[in-house]
Symmetry: C2
């Protein structure tokens, strides 16, 4: 059973790590978008960029889902995707860290 | 009753005028898109650009509808929007030109 009770201290750590990862992700999205847009020369490419934005928005919404009931999974996914490191989460309970690590190995 | 029978000679003129207007429109769309994209600095702007692309695509699809049954209306709208000139259509029947002009005045 996943531990979804987060203490205030843990929430602070979680929020910081989550926000920093989300910020990096969105920053990367903006640069990728600008680079795709700068090289567009036809409308086909415009519609492809629009479709790509839709896809990325839905991926990011699902990847960055800050609900305490989902956070263990969210952090495990972010670690698997090498977007955060388990050490970033130092300070949260050993049980949660173990759950997250165990999910990253699945 | 709108005349929607186009002779081959009229079709050639219509196609040329239509294609040239569509090309100008899409060219303008690409420049506007690139300029919006270049000045984007946050994701909110990205989603706004995506929504704007959706809107423009549907407007352009409706504005550039090359069906002979629609062409009189399409040319009237393009004239009203100052995207073509009635003189561009020289060579099509007097009846069609009169129908188009009459629609531009409504």
């Amino acid at each position: 059973m996943i531990d979804s009770i987060w203490t205030n201290a843990e929430k602070k750590i979680a929020r910081r790590v989550f926000d920093a990862a989300a910020e990096r992700e969105l920053s990367l999205l903006i640069s990728e978008f600008k680079s795709k847009a700068a090289s567009a020369t036809d409308t086909e490419t415009l519609w492809n960029i629009r479709d790509w934005l839709n896809k990325r928005q839905s991926e990011i919404d699902s990847e960055f889902d800050y609900r305490y009931s989902r956070l263990i999974f969210v952090f495990a996914n972010l670690i698997r995707a090498r977007k955060i490191n388990i050490n970033d989460l130092a300070g949260i309970s050993e049980q949660k860290l173990a759950e997250i690590l165990s999910l990253t190995e699945q």
